[in-house]
């Protein structure tokens, strides 16, 4: 458990990293107890396996030319699954673009994610998910939305929090600064999560900032902050639980730096061998979050590795089925272009659409 006392002894200015278990899945905090029961932990592991499988299949679909650019989550999944365990129905999720597990936890359908990365806006309609925003492409710009949502929660008297994600590179943008500042001045209950995966595309952290770590940036906003091992799902879960509670109870924002590693490419268009060594990759592979929990579970005899293959096979079927939905989604038509700009389509858009339809009709459907 992580409480306000723990926070005192994990000050970012002292470069303290909160970690519960090491790379071997062994506890580094003696007598540590999870607030999750064993069943929940096993389920978390299944979820990790599921998103990892879905994520790797997404990369595969892309390679097969069945999807466009996709940003792999490989190596960062524990952060998302932990967030999913903590986020409540009423909480808002404000993603960047690399938080698959968190989206699914919020009720986004995998078929929607696939549809989006196949190049259709309908993938961001989130038919059954509430209080989750779509992928935000312009880096850090979404954080301001989170601060505004936080203001609205207070204004509307709701006891809920906003979970907002950004990358290490994203901390360099002006909007990062403005968002944290607004949230703090407004006492907005926002949990800001920096996924420090060491790279912004090809640019390593050392070229983004000279701060001791990323969590210390909270000091500039009078905001509490915690640096945590992002590949340690127990640590992440502890910290998220504490942070949500802190935000909702105190009506204050809080900053979390989840230290992790982008084990895959930046996106399917990227080739990391250009800018980093395989030694580095291997070093981090040892700290893999899925493997780590597996080791813990195995040691506790809560998990039988020999069943995994079959489980994954069943996941693959599910995932393929979801992909099918996306792949056989109805044809993109002209109303998908014009129909959603305004509540009521202005005459000017009707005119432009009409012009276009005149051409289509006269060309016999050629575009």
């Amino acid at each position: 458990m992580f409480d306000i006392k723990t926070l005192e002894s994990y000050q970012a200015i002292d470069n303290k990293l909160y970690q519960v278990m090491d790379a071997e899945g062994k506890l580094v905090i003696p007598k540590w107890k999870s607030s999750l029961d064993n069943e929940q932990i096993v389920q978390a592991y299944r979820d990790l396996l599921f998103v990892r499988t879905a994520d790797m299949m997404a990369v595969a679909y892309q390679r097969q030319g069945r999807m466009f650019t996709y940003p792999p989550n490989l190596g960062q999944e524990a952060i998302h699954i932990a967030a999913g365990l903590v986020m409540q129905e009423k909480d808002w999720l404000v993603p960047a673009f690399r938080e698959l597990g968190a989206w699914l936890a919020k009720g986004v359908k995998l078929s929607e994610v696939f549809l989006y990365f196949r190049g259709h806006e309908d993938g961001s309609r989130f038919q059954e998910a509430n209080r989750v925003l779509p992928v935000a492409v312009p880096i850090s710009s979404q954080l301001l939305h989170a601060s505004g949502l936080g203001y609205a929660l207070n204004y509307q008297g709701e006891d809920a929090a906003v979970f907002a994600f950004v990358g290490d590179g994203g901390t360099s943008e002006g909007d990062f600064h403005e968002a944290l500042n607004f949230a703090s001045v407004w006492d907005a209950p926002v949990v800001f999560v920096i996924q420090n995966n060491q790279f912004a595309i090809s640019v390593p952290l050392a070229m983004q900032t000279r701060s001791k770590n990323l969590a210390v940036k909270g000091i500039a906003y009078g905001m509490e902050s915690i640096m945590v091992d992002g590949n340690d799902i127990f640590a992440m879960h502890d910290v998220f639980s504490f942070a949500r509670d802190y935000a909702v109870t105190n009506k204050r924002p809080i900053l979390i730096e989840a230290v992790t590693y982008r084990a895959g490419a930046h996106t399917t268009s990227d080739d990391p061998t250009k800018y980093r060594t395989s030694e580095e990759e291997e070093e981090w592979a040892k700290k893999d979050p899925v493997l780590r929990l597996q080791k813990w579970l195995t040691r506790k005899k809560l998990w039988d590795v020999s069943t995994e293959e079959e489980l994954i096979a069943s996941y693959r079927k599910k995932i393929d089925a979801e992909f099918e939905i996306a792949e056989h989604y109805p044809e993109y038509n002209i109303d998908d272009v014009f129909g959603y700009l305004y509540e009521e389509m202005p005459d000017e858009l009707k005119r432009q659409k009409n012009d276009y339809m005149n051409f289509i009709n006269s060309s016999g459907g050629v575009k």
């Binding site: 312009p138 939305h145 949502l149 959603y340 000017e348």
Partner: protein, 325 residues
């Protein structure tokens, strides 16, 4: 009815809507305690409380971006950019998010908000305080953009903007903030967004303008009237969507058109209007539609404004040239 200037009419519109709709908040730099540097929000904080009318930190991207967060979750923010030139730091939020969130999410989220921006020159201000950015906004899909030229329109257009379910950029011609007074109804009314107004009928030429330029054109009309020229004056009012029907009908009637805007010329608002005229009234044209605009220069500091700002004399001169084409 009550005699109001533009500042009062805008304040009144916000006051009425704040009273009526608890989801509305008003914020920006100095809009709370101070009531805005132009006093447009004066009295609103005292009346509606500090949670609803308040000062924000000094950061325009922040103001715009947070407003989107509020808007998609059931609130209606009315935000202020203190001056035209300080809306630029908010461009990314406006272009990339505010204008697009409905489309991006297929209507799951929409962005009912108003961005108020005092704009335009002629007030002897410092640099960056006299800009005309309407073409930037007009070119951005997903926004509506309006500009009033009278207190009556100011109130009705702002109420329409606030009640619109989509984001509206509301540009306030600061040069005439206090210059024009008019009887304005005390109750609520709307001026529909997207409709131009024919201010005066006339046979010889159509002049299209908006904002503070309307008054200059009206002065020019007095000058050319002496020469027997009768001008049909159109106040565009809505930068986007444009009221092509009114413009088309007008120019088909007179065959001649002059566009007057203080914004820079190239890729500016007048170019769009000339294109609309070509599309709607080409066969009626008896002379090339003419644009009389700001130069493609930075708007000069106060001592140089006399060259940049468009005088009634210059408008009259262009009208005459066109009529005698």
């Amino acid at each position: 009815m009550k005699v109001m200037n533009l500042v009062q009419a805008i304040n009144d519109a916000m006051d009425i809507k704040l009273q009526e709709d608890k989801s509305i908040v008003v914020y920006g730099e100095d809009v709370g305690v101070e009531g805005g540097v132009f006093r447009v929000t004066e009295g609103l904080q005292v009346k509606h409380g500090k949670e609803r009318v308040f000062d924000s930190p000094l950061a325009e991207s922040g103001i715009a971006g947070t407003a989107l967060g509020m808007a998609i979750s059931g609130m209606k923010p009315i935000i202020e950019m203190q001056f035209d030139g300080f809306s630029y730091p908010a461009f990314n939020q406006i272009i990339s998010h505010i204008a697009r969130f409905r489309n991006r999410t297929r209507g799951k989220y929409h962005v009912p908000m108003v961005i108020r921006i005092p704009y335009g020159g002629g007030i002897n201000a410092l640099e960056h305080h006299s800009e005309s950015p309407e073409a930037y906004f007009g070119h951005t899909p997903g926004l509506k953009v309006v500009i009033p030229s009278t207190p009556y329109d100011a109130k009705g257009l702002l109420i329409a903007a606030i009640e619109d379910p989509d984001p509206v950029i509301y540009l306030e011609p600061k040069r005439i903030y206090r210059a024009i007074k008019q009887e304005v109804p005390e109750e609520k009314y709307q001026i529909p967004i997207g409709k131009a107004k024919v201010i005066s009928q006339g046979e010889d030429i159509t002049v299209i303008a908006y904002g503070a330029m309307i008054r200059e054109v009206q002065k020019a009309m007095v000058l050319v009237k002496e020469k027997g020229i009768s001008v049909q004056l159109i106040d565009l009012r809505s930068i986007w969507p444009i009221d092509r029907d009114t413009i088309g009908a007008a120019v088909r009637q007179t065959g001649r058109a002059l566009i007057v805007t203080e914004a820079q010329q190239s890729y500016g608002p007048a170019a769009e209007l000339i294109s609309v005229i070509n599309e709607e009234a080409f066969l009626s044209l008896e002379a090339p539609p003419k644009r009389l605009t700001g130069f493609d220069t930075v708007i000069p500091l106060p001592l140089g404004e006399k060259h940049y700002m468009i005088s009634p004399q210059r408008i009259a001169w262009e009208i005459e040239k066109l009529v005698n084409y």
